[in-house]
Amino acid sequence: MSRAPDPIVLDNVTVAYDRHPAVHHVSGRFAPGSLTAIVGPNGAGKTSLVRAITGAGPVEGGRIDRGRLAASDIAYLPQQAVLDRSFPILCRDVVLMGDWRRVGLLRRLGRGEREAAEEALAAVGLGGFGDRPIASLSAGQFQRLLFARTLREDCPVIVLDEPFTAIDAKTTADLLRVVARWHGEGRTVIAVLHDQDLVRAHFPETLLLAREAIAWGRTATVLTPANALRARRMAEAWAEHPEACARAA
């Protein structure tokens, strides 16, 4: 990675499913090299928003300006559970998938790539696991493996969706060191998280989301009891037959 990434600017972004807004008129900016946590109650639209940011999901209204960043310049690690962990493949081969943007369909995966894969495995605490089938990994080790693959993607922007859910404290601490390394290298990192103590300790910026952006800025000014109460009220509000949004026009 040679230069600082462009900022990612959200301009009045709405994501809706069957007309119901999951993310409603959110505006703001992820600065280049920032480390931001997205927090909020379940159903607050966190996953919908990061899917829209990475280009993996639809945007109903408004605009997401990624500057010169292509959607494929963003490494995206979705929530766990969708992958088949009994798939017959070795850990090294999963990490090597991170080289796709460089090698594509035809270019050779040589010794250099294999050594880099071993280094990435070592960096997430899986040194020497290259020849193991993924079926032998625990849930925590599997998440470490996906972080190793994300390391090899070497993208200027990294988006993580609930990376530490159902992961033990030691694994979380190790993987937070990888996140800190990305931050230190000037990459923009965005992570959906639930543990507010962890956010306070490790994430300088926070977006509190409850369909709308309740607060967005320095973590200490966002994670206040008053904001938490507003977020909960907003998330619980549900109208059976709402009218069309007046701000949509």
Partner: protein, 289 residues
């Protein structure tokens, strides 16, 4: 004596040699596709596509006569059309692809049987469904060999994205590696192989040589490459054994080959080295660390 029973038929009779070469060529190409179908949780898609090519074969025979070219072209066209329609319907509506394909193939199968029964195609429905491997002529053999060659080259080319897309489709798509293209190319190869196999084994039995070794392969290896190798070996053994049984016991050859593949599959299921029943039944003491 034993050697005579095993080798004699192939030395003595040209039709046995042709059947052997045809089945071995099919065994090289079809089982690897089956392994990917199993891994993509599309095991029954092969079956559906096998039925789906029937109306095309019947139409080809009606329009172009009982020629290899006409029937093959019809089968390939029908298979590709149904793959495309099912893919479009699934992506356009959120209907699951297997449900979508099930709908299309049932309609296609009914259409095929109606065409064969109503028309004066001169095609025996039993031959269409169950094939006649001992009647494989030079033209059919050349067709099977061409399809096998094309399949192996195509698989070598798309192997990397196919494995990644099977394991984590979201990742490949997001990294700019495409998605639907590999899936459609892969299904096109499946269609090609089913049409090639149908000349030897018939539309129903063609699926057997593709899926049974593939389903059995997971009991022999823990990597995709290993499973593909295991599936090819099993298909070859089943082909040879099936042809010999067919010759000596006077059983139709298609079912004999598929039954032999079934025996190998059951063998792996019971006693294979990876996650078979025996591995679960026989308790071995746990390790110290």
């Amino acid at each position: 004596m034993l050697a005579d029973a095993l080798l004699g038929p192939f030395f003595e009779f040209a039709f046995m040699r042709r059947a052997l070469v045809g089945c071995l060529a099919l065994s090289l190409a079809a089982p690897p596709l089956g392994v990917f179908l199993v891994l993509r949780r599309l095991s029954l898609i092969g079956d559906a596509l096998g039925h789906a090519i029937l109306p095309g074969v019947a139409l080809g025979a009606t329009l172009g006569g009982l020629s290899l070219a006409a029937m093959s072209a019809g089968g390939i066209a029908a298979g590709l059309v149904i793959v495309m329609l099912a893919g479009l319907a699934a992506r356009g509506t959120g209907l699951r692809e297997d449900a979508s394909l099930a709908g299309f193939y049932l309609v296609a199968l009914a259409l095929g049987v109606a065409i064969v029964s109503a028309g004066r195609t001169g095609v025996d429905l039993m031959d269409l469904l169950f094939g006649a491997v001992l009647g494989v002529d030079d033209g059919a053999l050349l067709f099977i060999a061409s399809v096998a060659t094309l399949t192996l080259f195509a698989l070598a080319l798309i192997w990397r994205p196919l494995v990644v897309e099977t394991f984590d489709p979201g990742f490949l798509h997001h990294a700019g590696g495409g998605g639907a293209l590999w899936h459609l190319l892969f299904l096109a190869l499946v269609v090609l192989n089913l049409v090639a196999a149908f000349h030897a084994l018939g539309t129903l039995m063609a699926v057997g040589l593709m899926m049974l070794p593939a389903a059995g392969a997971r009991f022999w290896s823990g990597t995709v490459g290993g499973q593909v190798t295991a599936a090819v070996v099993m298909a070859m053994v089943a082909s040879i054994a099936g042809l010999l049984v067919s010759f000596h016991a006077d059983v139709p050859s298609g079912p004999a080959i598929v039954l032999a593949a079934g025996v190998l599959w059951a063998g792996g299921l019971v006693a294979g080295p990876q996650g078979s029943l025996m591995r679960r039944w026989i308790r071995r003491p746990h390790l110290a660390a």
